[in-house]
């Protein structure tokens, strides 16, 4: 493994883990956009720090980003508190104003003598290959501080994320804890600037959290899982960008975590779209099939010939169902040997008759229970 790849890999993993953990709280507190605004707000900070100090050393630039990020978040807080502007609008305003200022400053710096070599544009989309050991140390320290604070105050952060009003009634300094969480978020954003850049930073915060939420109903597990997904995406993204030629690291990380998110949205048990649809269909089809068997049984019972054919229009008329719709339910019943199909008419086979009898019996027992114990009116079909 080359020195560069090693640095990129370590940096991406650290960013992924801390971003996932802090992002979980932002996600649950519906502050996903805030992370985005903070990242964009950091850009002018980087530029101003460069203009003031004239160095490319990461520490002063990141301090500038930190100051600008904090300024941006305080700005949002004040706008929401003192004007009638709602939070989403305030976030949008701060994001665009700060980012616009950042781009203007960046263009100016590029035009200054020697500015072309400033390398500041790496903060736009990130350039993980420029990470050096010094950067990694800074990332490790800041990331560790953020994670330790979250672990120590987990109970408190959970409380203020779920029910801040109740937390306040217990005497917790809710507002200050919220500001602390936001500051931690700013720190992670700053940590990630060199790797992912301001534009895509929000994805490393929110995507792992959204994916993790799909798989669990416990906050502690969700936070850990988000960290794991973030770290894994960082590792895979870093390796992928290093092996294929000239693929940018930050966007690769984002693509990997987005892939995890898509899989989670579709396939996670309970919350996954696919299982939910499948469950709905299963229940619906079962009800329809049982109704079909029951209808045929009752028609046969009335006519006195249990094995007789029943025409499809008369069956459809019973529940106002379309022809195609019904055939769709008949098909599996035919396949299972419960129904025999003639031309435009059906009849119950022997095993179909037994199954229909079971369904009808269950239904009638249930009816008796409902009408005698709960005094509900009888099903009009059973009367």
């Amino acid at each position: 493994m080359t020195y560069t790849l090693q640095n990129v890999l370590l940096g991406s993993i650290m960013l992924g883990v801390s971003g996932g953990v802090l992002g979980s709280f932002a996600f649950l507190r519906r502050q996903s956009l805030l992370g985005d605004a903070l990242a964009h707000a950091a850009l002018p900070g980087v530029c101003i720090a460069y203009i003031l100090t004239g160095t490319k050393a990461p520490l002063p630039l990141l301090l500038g980003a930190l100051a600008a990020g904090v300024t941006g978040s305080l700005f949002i807080l004040f706008v929401v508190r003192w004007t009638k502007i709602k939070e989403d609008a305030a976030i949008g305003i701060v994001l665009s104003v700060f980012f616009g200022l950042g781009i203007v400053l960046l263009t100016r710096i590029q035009k200054m003598t020697g500015g072309n070599q400033s390398g500041l544009d790496k903060y736009l989309f990130g350039q993980a290959a420029t990470l050096v050991e010094e950067d990694l140390k800074l990332m490790a320290i800041l990331g560790a501080v953020a994670l330790i604070i979250v672990a120590a105050g987990f109970k408190e952060f959970k409380l203020i994320s779920f029910d801040p009003g109740f937390g306040q009634s217990l005497g917790y300094p809710v507002r200050r804890l919220e500001i602390l969480l936001t500051c931690l978020l700013v720190i992670i954003v700053v940590v990630g600037l060199q790797t992912v850049g301001v534009v895509l930073m929000v994805a490393t915060l929110i995507t792992p959290a959204a994916a993790a939420r799909q798989w669990t109903e416990r906050l502690s597990i969700m936070v850990i899982l988000a960290g794991a997904i973030g770290g894994l995406s960082g590792a895979v993204g870093a390796v992928a960008s290093a092996t294929a030629e000239r693929l940018p690291t930050g966007p690769m990380i984002v693509l990997v975590s987005s892939a995890v998110l898509v899989v989670s949205l579709l396939f996670a048990p309970e919350r996954g779209l696919l299982w939910a649809r499948l469950r709905d269909h299963k229940v619906r089809d079962r009800i329809r099939r049982e109704n079909l068997l029951k209808d045929m049984f009752l028609m046969a019972e009335r006519s006195g010939e249990t094995g007789a054919f029943v025409s499809s229009p008369s069956l459809m008329g019973l529940r106002g169902r379309g022809h195609r719709d019904m055939i769709e339910n008949v098909r599996p019943l035919v396949r299972d040997g419960l129904i025999e199909r003639g031309t435009d008419e059906f009849r119950l086979t022997e095993s179909g008759l037994a199954e229909a009898e079971r369904v009808v019996r269950n239904h009638r027992l249930w009816e008796v229970y409902l009408s005698s114990n709960l005094a509900l009116p009888l099903d009009h079909r059973a009367q």
């Binding site: 649950l28 105050g153 109970k155 779920f162 029910d163 109740f166 009634s169 939420r213 906050l219």
Partner: protein, 275 residues
Amino acid sequence: MNGSSVTEPVGAESIYTHAGEPALEVHDLTVAYRSQPVLWDIDVALPEGRLIAIVGPNGAGKSTLLKAALGLVKPTTGWIKVFGAPYTQRRSWVGYVPQRESVDWDFPTSVIDVVCMGLYGRVGWLRRLSREHREIARACLDKVNMAHLAHRQISQLSGGQQQRVFLARALAEDARLYLMDEPFAGVDAATEHAILMLLQELRGRGRTVVAVHHDLQTVSDYFDYVVLLNMRLIAAGPVSTTFTQENLHKTYGGRLTVLSKAADALFTQKETEPE
């Protein structure tokens, strides 16, 4: 934990006169949100050991009164005392049941975890909950007939069950005074009954309940003391003498729009003392 010192409730008078400090004392309270007055000059003292309903039309400041008592909103003028001291010194004496809609019920946590939050005040900063704490929480859930759902995800609860979880969480606070924001709102009949039983049990143990209540039909059945509020205090006292047609008419019938318009006009012109 503080309940042991409370004298048993005997008759209404004995509580009022002998229990010493009122459970909740509101003095000269005015609250305004962004130059819009919500509560005006409220003066009232609520006795201990009663089930007290705060009744009034929408926008009458009922929730605001509770929130002011809890220090969640800052009064423009005036103060509120809980058992003779500011709320900050009486936190552990007070339990709070917020409105059910005030939180996101899709939050990834379980019923028992939410109830445990009622114990955080006792557990203290940065400490973990012990097995005993979980036992207490479970006992509180049992009191609202929810023990069997302790490990259910809160996203799977019905409205009535959500309300019971919040009540259990307040019970876990083991308070002397419970402030409840619309505990009966939008719950099924079974939950309504369960809440009623719980309130009566609390009163039996000498606890005080102050609840924002919307259903005028049930006030006299569920509560024994009532505060009628419409930005100003209309009346406060035992249900039998205070919950009268006349007072209700003053609270609701005085054409709310006219009343608040008049108040608005007075406020914006900064005329002499209103009324």
